[in-house]
């Protein structure tokens, strides 16, 4: 029953390489994906991103199904309609039925495009958990929470001040139904910004049970600082959080049995052997490894324990979501994945 179906998309907005994830030498970093989720999933081994390899623009491309061409660091909306706009306009869904939880760097505009036929008022609500926490902490000290307010890693040297406002405080109260003190108290027990994002996503699931929920994790992108151990820790944390999200889906009657989960990095990272790069640190060369990643799809109707080796493109995600939920993604460049729909 398409109208009852739900979709949760988890992207890693900090590309992860196959050799630190699904290749034999990387499998120790992803025990949950490998042993808990993979057996229940269709696994696409070659998801190629032919667009710009910057995290905001690449995530926007994932969300529009078109390789967006704007400056990765610009504070702009995607030019093409997002999947949230297609979903809400075609299926006449309320704003509370589509949400994005994203890192704070630039992603505040990812919920809706500048396309004239869609755009304002038709997109997803966007929650930036670090913005929420900053707002909640403005009356107190930030000292105990610095680890949750880490920055934009893609440009690790450029770390604009986080700001919180009345808008974020209103989101806490009206959307997440959390008091400032409860939110801050819970945050105290979390280890990273991604854990905060998943906490917020679960709160959204409890409050609105949105049919389309998009979560972008970002801890992995600490790789840009050149510290391999922190990059690996980010992968291990993402692995654990993905399993937690799937468990939360199965435990929630609003989601269990009718939710398809997609998990994919937005792209890879540079190869060790490309002379113009520096291995895992960046994603600047445009080599095959930096453009190629993987995707897990799981849920009702998706075949389990299946490996799909043919190359697909990251822009295929949006039309696949359209086919699953029953809306048209007319401006997308991708094609629905027959293995999933």
């Amino acid at each position: 029953m398409p109208s009852r179906r739900k979709v949760v998309v988890v992207t890693f907005g900090g590309g992860a390489r196959d050799e630190e994830t699904f290749m034999p030498e990387g499998q120790e970093n992803i025990p949950h994906l490998l042993t808990e989720l993979l057996p229940q999933a269709s696994f696409f081994t070659q998801v190629v991103n032919r667009g710009i390899l910057g995290h905001y623009v690449a995530t926007a491309s994932l969300a529009t199904g078109v390789y967006e061409r704007f400056n990765n660091f610009a504070d702009v909306r995607p030019e093409n309609p997002t999947v949230f706009e297609y979903f809400r306009k075609d299926l006449k869904r309320q704003a509370r039925d589509a949400w994005v939880v994203a890192p704070s760097n630039g992603f505040n505009r990812i919920g809706e495009s500048s396309n004239r036929s869609y755009g304002q008022g038709l997109g997803a609500g966007v929650i930036l958990p670090k913005g929420l926490l900053t707002a909640a902490l403005d009356s107190g000290g930030r000292t105990s929470y610095e680890h949750l307010l880490r920055d934009n890693y893609e440009t690790p040297l450029y770390t604009p001040e986080l700001s919180g406002s009345e808008f974020e405080l209103a989101q806490l109260d009206e959307i997440l139904k959390l008091s400032v003190s409860d939110f801050v108290a819970h945050a105290r027990n979390l280890a990273s910004p991604d854990e905060l994002s998943v906490y917020v996503a679960r709160q959204l699931m409890r409050q609105f049970a949105p049919s389309l929920l998009w979560i972008t994790l970002h801890d992995i992108d600490v790789a840009h600082s050149g510290t391999f151990s922190l990059y690996i820790e980010g992968i291990q944390r993402s692995d654990r959080l993905c399993a937690e999200i799937w468990k939360a889906i199965q435990a929630d009657p609003e989601y269990a049995g009718k939710t398809t989960l997609f998990i994919l990095p937005d792209f890879g990272r540079d190869s060790d052997t490309d002379a113009s790069g520096n291995g895992f640190q960046h994603h600047r060369t445009g080599d095959a490894l930096s453009r190629t990643t993987w995707m897990l799809a799981m849920g009702p109707g998706v075949r389990q324990n299946v490996v799909v080796d043919r190359p697909v493109e990251s822009v295929d995600l949006v039309p696949t979501l359209g086919s699953l939920l029953g809306f048209s993604t007319r401006l997308s460049q991708g094609k629905p994945l027959p293995e999933v729909v």
Binding site: E25, R50, G51, I52, L53, G54, Y67, R69, F70, N71, F73, E146, H147, L149, R150, D151, Y153, T155, P156, L157, Y158, T159, P160, E161, V222, H224, S225, G226, T227, F228, S229, L230, I232, E233, D272, T273, A275, S276, N278, G279, F280, Q281, H282, T285, G286, D287
Partner: protein, 403 residues
């Protein structure tokens, strides 16, 4: 501006050697596509502060291109000639600001989906230049030595995980005085085979005392004032709230060593430019000693092409929010030895790959030693791959086996 409009007076702001080189080859430069010639000028404008190996490389490219018949030169440049520039790029003063042009060009190539075409053109050009020359063997086989894992008493991490299969894993190395012994060995090589900027010692903390005029020494600790000055500059740009990451990149790329307290002339100026670029253009090098050592080693190999490189990784500070790391550097930060060991193990692997890119790779040797521990991996043409040696041995004896 078109390449064909180039005039000698446009190179007036170039340092003397670079200016002379550009003017001597102006007829050639006029015939090259702007997307290529601007990148070549990025090398020429910095020619005076380049290492001898880099200077040779720039000259070789100019000689190669100048020696080609017109038709073949056009063929070699065909990929670059197809690149469509934006009006903004065409309007930039790429003669005097080639670095800024290069940054903008990269962004333009990505957004206009020309990056793959450019990449293919660059690879094709590199192959042609390489094919035109007889590979120059190093005067002695190259030797890389990595010291990693300082401060870690025991670890469950599998050491040398990527390099072990390339050589022999020694598990009974006598660790006593190991660092001293390796520094002395490198100093002795530098004294015996003098090569300008041919022998390097990079340390992630304070250098071991060493006296060898032929050894180029760089240390994270010695650069503390320069790092602090750079972080201050970064903080100022960030706090100004204008320009964003691209403005910061531009300012860092244009930074002169004198601005961060690195003064000197002659060879000292060349080294200062190198150190300044490692700190200003490297990502994480200002705040994490492991990133500094890895990137400095990578850049030393790529640029100076040394025959000897000793790099010692030391514990980096623990992760804190980047804004805080920039704004409030601590005098005695909390260290993360275990994480640093993992960083360094990967850093050693990347350094080996970078060494293998240089000429004479088939004769090169490489040693990675876990500081103060009996474990090491040695890679050399004379050693088997994936072997294990449990014989008691000191580091001098290991070195004797690979050099």
């Amino acid at each position: 501006m078109l390449s064909s409009d180039l005039k000698p007076e446009q190179f007036q702001t170039y340092p003397p050697q670079g200016r002379q080189l550009a003017i001597a080859h102006i007829d050639l430069l006029k015939q090259l596509p702007p997307s290529f010639v601007a990148l070549l000028l990025r090398e020429v404008i910095a020619y005076d502060w380049k290492f001898p190996a880099e200077q040779k490389d720039v000259t070789r490219q100019l000689t190669y291109l100048g020696g080609l018949p017109n038709e073949q030169r056009q063929e070699a440049m065909a990929g670059f000639a197809q690149i469509r520039l934006s009006p903004e790029l065409e309007g930039l003063d790429w003669v005097n600001a080639p670095t800024q042009f290069s940054e903008r060009l990269t962004a333009h190539l990505w957004s206009s989906h020309q990056i793959d075409g450019f990449r293919a053109a660059a690879l094709d050009y590199g192959r042609r230049v390489d094919a035109s020359r007889t590979p120059e063997k190093p005067p002695i086989p190259r030797l890389g030595i990595m010291v990693i894992g300082q401060g870690v008493a025991a670890s469950s991490y599998t050491m040398f995980r990527k390099l072990r299969k390339q050589g022999v894993y020694f598990n009974a190395v006598k660790p006593e005085n190991g660092v001293r012994l390796l520094v002395d060995a490198v100093a002795a090589r530098a004294a015996a085979h003098p090569v300008a900027f041919g022998h390097w010692y990079i340390d992630g903390a304070t250098q071991e005392p060493v006296s060898s005029p032929g050894l180029t020494s760089v240390s994270y600790q010695a650069l503390e004032p320069a790092r602090a000055a750079i972080l201050k500059k970064m903080e100022r740009v960030i706090k100004s709230g204008t320009g964003g990451p691209e403005a910061l990149h531009d300012q860092m790329a244009e930074l002169r060593p004198e601005e961060i307290g690195l003064e000197g002339t002659g060879d000292a100026a060349v080294l200062n430019h190198f150190q300044s670029s490692v700190l200003a253009e490297g990502s994480g090098t200002q705040i994490f000693s492991t990133s500094f050592v890895q990137w400095a080693a990578r850049e030393a190999l790529r640029r100076a092409q040394p025959v000897t490189l000793l790099a010692r990784f030391t514990p980096r500070q623990r992760q804190r929010p980047m804004g805080e790391l920039i704004a409030s550097p601590q005098q005695s930060p909390t260290l993360d030895p275990e994480g640093s060991l993992i960083d360094a193990d990967m850093g050693a692997y990347l350094t080996w790959i970078n060494q293998q890119r240089l000429t004479g790779a088939e004769q090169s040797s490489f040693l990675v030693w876990w500081e103060d521990h009996p474990e090491a991996v040695a890679i050399a043409p004379t050693l088997p791959h994936g072997a294990v040696s449990s014989s008691s041995i000191d580091l001098n004896q290991v070195l004797a086996q690979i050099t």
